[in-house]
């Protein structure tokens, strides 16, 4: 009656047909992760690109997953807004790898900011998870499962994300002092607090006077630019191999969603999730 079923047009239908008949698919974005497979029998498929709708007043944007993030950012900047993902690769790639951008603040993490995903399943059918409102979940939370699923559960074609207003001021500070964390605990909710190779970085955001006042509380910190991130830091969930019952559930999910191991075999094999 009011189902999510949206007509995404020919590009998505073409992908659905290809997926339905293919045996082995490697989903690619811009391959900024460097995990694209080099198996020659793999069919390389990419989600379509383009912004579908952007409603700054609703703090929400819907894009085809193949859209490059910097293109989205151009739109967002014009409306003085931003999304939590940093500025490279595609939206779909960032969502599928649950890329850990430093922009993630408190609860403003990537999983909490993806409101809806439309996915092509292994049989070529389309399924949707979530909804286009802030409290997006009805039923089981497939969105959480899809964020960080590394393409193992289908090809994400559409993503609706929350946007947020730009803060008045945004300032990074850093310190390599061993007591830096104690210093940081004196602050009220820095937007980001992170330790990278022994250096504590803080991001302070908000009203200019508040940011200045917070900085004045810190001893031994210096102003700095946003730090650059190692590969390992960005893709944290790739560092672990599940065990025991957790492994069984992960395998169960993969088996339910992709019974013939169609999608991203190489990654599934590395994670020991081939069924």
């Amino acid at each position: 009656m009011f189902k999510n079923a949206v007509n995404f047009g020919g590009a998505v239908e073409d992908l659905q047909k290809k997926i339905a008949i293919s045996n082995s698919i490697n989903i690619v974005g811009t391959n900024s992760t460097g995990v694209a497979s080099n198996e020659s029998e793999d069919e390389k498929l990419k989600a379509p690109a383009g912004i579908i709708s952007y409603e700054p007043d609703e703090l929400m944007i819907s894009v085809f997953a193949g859209t490059e993030i910097h293109e989205v950012n151009i739109e967002l900047q014009a409306a003085q807004q931003r999304i939590v993902i940093p500025d490279w690769g595609t939206i779909g790639g960032a969502v599928a790898t649950r890329r850990n951008g430093l922009r993630e603040t408190h609860h403003q993490t990537l999983p909490n900011n993806v409101l809806r995903c439309t996915v092509i399943a292994a049989d070529g059918s389309l399924y949707q998870a979530g909804g286009q409102v802030v409290k997006n979940v009805s039923g089981f939370d497939l969105v959480k499962l899809l964020v960080g699923s590394w393409g193992l559960l289908g090809l994400i074609v559409e993503v609706t994300m929350r946007t947020e207003p730009l803060p008045q001021v945004s300032q990074w500070v850093k310190s390599a002092h061993p007591q830096a964390r104690e210093q940081a605990s004196k602050l009220y909710r820095p937007a980001v607090e992170t330790l990278i190779e022994g250096v504590t970085y803080l991001l302070l955001e908000g009203h200019q006077n508040d940011v200045e006042q917070q900085i004045s509380l810190l001893k031994g910190f210096a102003l700095c630019e946003m730090p650059s991130l190692s590969h390992q830091y960005q893709y944290q969930n790739l560092n672990f191999l599940s065990q025991g019952p957790v492994r069984s559930i992960e395998r169960g999910i993969r088996k339910q969603f992709d019974p013939t191991n169609k999608f991203n075999k190489k990654i599934a094999a590395q994670r020991n999730l081939l069924t």
């Binding site: 189902k3 409290k135 999910i253």
Partner: protein, 457 residues
């Protein structure tokens, strides 16, 4: 098994109910005190081929805790210890039966609290919050329960115990478990994120001459780039009821009242309140008060959160609804809700999380009146319909349970539901953990059916 199973009529009667108007008839109820006892109970149920169901405080409104006939109720209220609080990491490990408000009371000495604050927080459990992914007024800026859970220890339907966190799996099983309404297993320990209490808070109460003006002001505040910590709306009938009940100082001449709270560091609060004041006056605010003291603030929130108590003074029964609509559609959908209630000759009141577009129309009635339940159900279904038509979703925080199960098809395609079922099957292949909830019957999408008597579907 260790831990007694109780089968006396009074306890079974209580364990058969929750905050909904439904009723189930369980086989027995047990009150485990340790994870091992929960495990024993689940294994026992498995071995007997009996379904089991986790139960917290039983305040759920969608019938999620209504036991299927002949099932074992595993009530977690005796697992109510806060195991540890780590003030440095700003986290705590708690047992599932800890009451929401008790957790924040216990952590207040550290200047910390658990952000999700459902109106039922004095009586609902953290386990129930996790299972229903519960919200509350302050979830506008803080996010709902799923944003505040770091790890979960779970007894799976297989009887095995495991931990879901950010570090032990590729898929976000922690995220997938939250909101699973007891159908993916039983949470036996929960690591919550705690947040710092804000140093500055401004709570404003704003009156409007119409619900329409108030709703437009809500959209305008957010569109202006201000995310208040809470942004609640009450219409005139509920404001009057609450005012008589708790004397919170709400404007009695207003057609709609907004509670707008903004918190954080000093200047953001000063500047934010000033901007909010400007915006609401542009949208025709008829009154504007700012709470000056913590006592005044507490009174306002008490007023907001005891709204349901106030209703009891008007009609003996009420049906509290829960849908979400895009913010820009608030005014439109609210007038549709009024029309639906008028059509069905029911009294309706609205008190809800306006900033999220999360509606909570309350239909009031006396169930002794012949035929009234039919009207209530028809009105409920219509409210769901107009919300979905406006681009919204079925539930903001109460969950699907039994209440909205058969509405799932209004929002999702069969294929969408099939993939939700696939997720359920990966956690519970035999469908023994709280069966027959959430997913509608038929088409291979659900566990095979039976409906508890008195259910509303």
């Amino acid at each position: 098994m260790s831990g007694a199973v109780h089968i006396n009529t009074a306890e079974l009667f209580l364990a058969g109910q929750d905050g909904s108007n439904m009723m189930g008839s369980p086989l027995g109820v047990c009150y485990p005190t340790t994870t091992a006892e929960v495990q024993n109970a689940v294994r026992w149920a498995r071995s007997k081929g009996v379904p089991f169901i986790a139960r917290g405080a039983g305040t759920g409104l969608a019938g999620g805790a209504i036991p299927e006939a002949g099932s074992l109720v595993i009530c977690l209220t005796k697992m109510n210890k806060i195991r540890s609080i780590d003030a440095n990491r700003r986290s705590a490990w708690v047992e599932p039966g800890v009451l929401n408000a008790d957790l924040s009371r216990q952590t207040s000495r550290e200047g910390l609290h658990f952000a999700p604050d459902p109106s039922s927080q004095q009586s609902c459990t953290i386990g129930g919050n996790v299972a229903n992914n519960s919200g509350g007024p302050h979830c506008l800026s803080e996010g709902v329960t799923s944003a505040h859970i770091l790890s979960l220890e779970v007894v799976l339907p297989s009887g095995e115990t495991c931990t879901f966190d950010a570090e032990t799996s590729l898929f976000d099983l922690r995220g997938a478990f939250i909101g699973s309404e007891g159908m993916f297993g039983i949470a036996t320990a929960i690591e919550v994120r705690l947040v710092q209490n804000p140093p500055h808070v401004a709570t404003m109460v704003v009156g409007f001459a119409s619900v329409h003006d108030g709703a437009l002001a809500v959209s305008a505040i957010i569109a202006h780039g201000i995310i208040p910590s809470a942004l609640e709306m009450m219409d005139a009938p509920i404001t009057r009821a609450v005012e008589e009940y708790v004397h919170a100082g709400f404007p009695l001449d207003a057609a709609a009242t907004l509670i707008v709270e903004i918190d954080g560091l000093e200047y953001s609060v000063i500047d934010g309140s000033r901007q909010i004041r400007e915006i609401v006056s542009l949208f025709g605010a008829t009154s504007f008060q700012v709470a000056e003291t913590a006592v005044e603030r507490a009174r306002i929130w008490k007023g907001r959160k005891t709204a349901f108590g106030a209703i009891a003074r008007i009609q003996p029964n009420y049906y509290l609804h829960d849908t979400v609509v895009p913010r820009k559609k608030l005014a439109e959908v609210l007038s549709q809700v009024t029309a639906i209630a008028t059509q069905e000759q029911l009294q309706v009141m609205n008190v809800f999380h306006a900033g999220d577009g999360n509606l909570h129309p309350i239909l009031m009635f006396d169930k002794r009146v012949a035929g009234v339940m039919d009207r209530v159900h028809r009105a409920g279904a219509e409210i769901v319909r107009v919300s979905l038509e406006a681009g919204g979703v079925l539930s903001g925080e109460h969950g699907i349970g039994l209440e909205k199960r058969d509405f799932m098809r209004w929002m999702f395609t069969e294929n969408d539901l099939l993939f939700q079922q696939k997720l359920r099957s990966a956690f519970d292949p035999d469908g023994i953990s709280n069966p027959h909830k959430v997913l509608p019957r038929g088409s291979g999408c659900s566990d095979t059916a039976s409906i508890p008597p008195g259910s509303w579907i």
